[in-house]
């Protein structure tokens, strides 16, 4: 029963009660047209047997500039008797911006007819799943309502935006056996000269060093070239609520997720093996993999993740660092909170090469910080705390990118990767 029907019933009761108490028959007569109105509503109300509706949902996505547009179309078909008053609605998704259409629409359907609800919303990233479609069928006056949840499942995942980055000149401590683009520091079949060794049976004759062979009778020498192989790269993405900063409709985590997606894409494009650990609630770990399949897995994981608060995950103490292959290059993407530096000695102790990409939360939230004396002082204190944390990490020979998210990340990573070469020598 709708609120209108309740109002009407209350009025009818009040009028009848007034008529009885005041001995005013006219008050009872006044209730009669209201009763007739309510009666018509009740008689015309749709019943469960009469309503046969079918909903089908289609979802399409396309990217416009930085944001992804998701177009949702739901078709409601009437396979039963005529329904003169229908209200169709879909629950609005949190954190999205409606750009076209509406979430709610009225309809009236004759037998065999169909109505459509269409809307388009924009979002940067996310995982959206629909199970049902809500329909309210009522009598022509909207007094007696019947709420229906029709099955109309659909799912769409919006991965973070990928920014195409030029391949990085990587130099890792250890490489894998498959051919790739990273100098492997061992002789083999690359392009750069590596050294000369004595000939082994089976070496190709075109690699023979004839000059040296000429100088040493009865001995043959083979030229070696530096092998180029692929490397193991691990990404740790900080998805804790405590390190996230909300700024209007945007938040700092979106930048971190975008950076993780772009870095994963470029490393996989270079042929490397990439793994991902999302440190949030829930913890998501994607074991090392190659190519487009792994990229899709990573993008799906990044589409679904949202910064959440969980006390047991509030620090980096229990990060399962051993999920990464030994001697991997680990990129940690985190805005850093107090005592987060303690993760890095562990990573270094396990022999990983480490690089920290730290989106600067203070720079990100600068516009919303109070500009009075107290605000400036608080800002300076937070800045000091952050610098102290970063300096502790730098002391472990971990290159740190103090990333102002308005700046492009690729040149900074390129520069920092040169420093990881130094790290690998230590």
């Amino acid at each position: 029963m709708s609120s209108r029907a309740l109002t009407l019933v209350a009025l009818i009761f009040a009028l009848l009660l007034g008529a009885l108490l005041l001995h005013q028959g006219d008050l009872a007569w006044m209730a009669l047209p209201f009763l007739a109105y309510l009666g018509v509503g009740i008689l015309q109300a749709p019943t469960a047997g009469k309503v046969r509706l079918l909903a089908t949902r289609t979802v399409e996505t396309h990217r416009e500039q930085e944001k992804m547009s998701v177009a949702v179309n739901v078709t409601l078909s009437n396979e039963g008797a005529a329904l003169e008053r229908l209200s169709m609605f879909d629950d609005p998704r949190p954190g999205v911006r409606l750009v076209d259409g509406r979430f709610r629409q009225s309809a009236a359907l004759r037998p065999g007819e169909a109505a459509e609800l269409h809307y388009t919303f924009q979002t940067e990233r996310g995982s959206f799943a629909w199970e049902t479609f809500q329909v309210t069928a009522s009598d022509p006056f909207g007094l007696i309502e019947m709420r229906l949840s029709l099955p109309a499942p659909a799912e769409v995942q919006v991965p973070p935006e990928l920014r195409k980055i030029r391949p990085f000149p990587l130099r890792t401590q250890r490489t894998l056996t498959s051919a790739g683009s990273i100098p492997a520091r061992r002789g083999g079949s690359g392009t750069d000269f590596w050294g000369i060794r004595e000939y082994h049976p089976g070496d190709p004759l075109r690699r023979l060093d004839w000059r040296l062979t000429a100088r040493h009778p009865r001995k043959f020498f083979t030229k070696e070239f530096e092998q180029e192989a692929i490397a193991d790269i691990g990404l740790i993405l900080d998805a804790r609520e405590r390190t996230n900063v909300q700024q209007g409709g945007d938040n700092l985590f979106e930048h971190s997720a975008r950076a993780a997606a772009s870095l994963a894409e470029v490393f996989l494009r270079q042929g490397n093996r990439v793994s991902l650990l999302i440190w949030g609630d829930p913890v998501v770990s994607l074991f090392p993999g190659y190519g487009k399949v792994q990229l899709n897995r990573i993008l799906q994981a990044l589409a679904q993740v949202a910064p959440r608060s969980n006390d047991s995950l509030s620090t980096f103490h229990f990060v399962p660092v051993r999920m990464f292959s030994s001697n991997s290059l680990i990129l940690v993407i985190s805005p850093l909170a107090a005592n987060d530096w303690q993760l890095f000695p562990r990573l270094r102790a396990y022999g990983y090469q480490v690089l920290l990409v730290s989106p600067d939360p203070l720079d990100y939230a600068r516009s919303s910080l109070p500009n009075d004396q107290l605000g400036r002082l608080a800002g300076r204190l937070v800045r000091l705390e952050r610098q102290l944390e970063i300096s502790k990490i730098r002391q472990l020979w971990v290159p740190v990118i103090d990333w102002s998210v308005s700046q492009p990340l690729a040149p900074l990573v390129r520069q920092a990767l040169i420093q990881t070469h130094i790290q690998s020598k230590r």
């Binding site: 609120s3 007569w29 006044m30 009669l32 309510l38 009666g39 009236a108 022509p140």
Partner: protein
């Protein structure tokens, strides 16, 4: 102005005039002013909420108790109900109802409304003209039967 708007404002205006006339004829100037204010608020503020409808029906009931002509009061209250209903209909149409669907359903809706309120008014007027005495106990019994009937119908619909 569309037909639905014309009907909405028309029923409201006529309803308020009926109530005002009824109150004015018996010299209930305070009640007349209240009716005028409620009607004016409904028209000027373009907000025809359930509260305004309930206020007008309440004023009509008070008017009857104060001796105003009942037919005018009942007519005024019924027209207030019609206006409230049409206001709700306007909201339904504005909620993205396609034009061709609105054209199909509009007249059916007016017909239902006219039938429901017209029949209710007709029975009321006839009932008032054909007057017969009913003992209070019988009236109570009839009221209880009506309540039971409404309750049973509601159960039937819900089931």
């Amino acid at each position: 102005m569309t037909l639905q708007r014309f009907l909405k404002w028309g029923t409201l205006t006529v309803g308020v005039v009926c109530l005002a006339l009824g109150c004015g004829l018996v010299g209930q100037w305070g009640l007349l002013a209240a009716v005028g204010l409620a009607g004016l608020a409904g028209i000027l503020l373009a907000v025809w909420s359930a509260v305004a409808f309930v206020v007008l029906v309440g004023l009509a009931a008070v008017g009857i108790c104060e001796g105003a002509w009942p037919i005018l009061m009942i007519l005024g209250a019924t027209l207030a109900l019609a206006s409230w209903d049409l206001s709700n209909w306007e909201g339904f149409v504005a909620d993205g109802l396609p034009d061709e669907t609105a054209a199909w359903i509009e007249w059916r809706r007016y017909t239902y409304l006219a039938l429901a309120l017209g029949s209710g008014l007709l029975v009321t007027i006839v009932g008032r003209l054909v007057s017969f005495q009913l003992p209070f106990g019988v009236l109570m019994l009839l009221a209880a039967l009506v309540l039971l009937g409404v309750d049973q119908t509601w159960r039937l619909v819900k089931g």
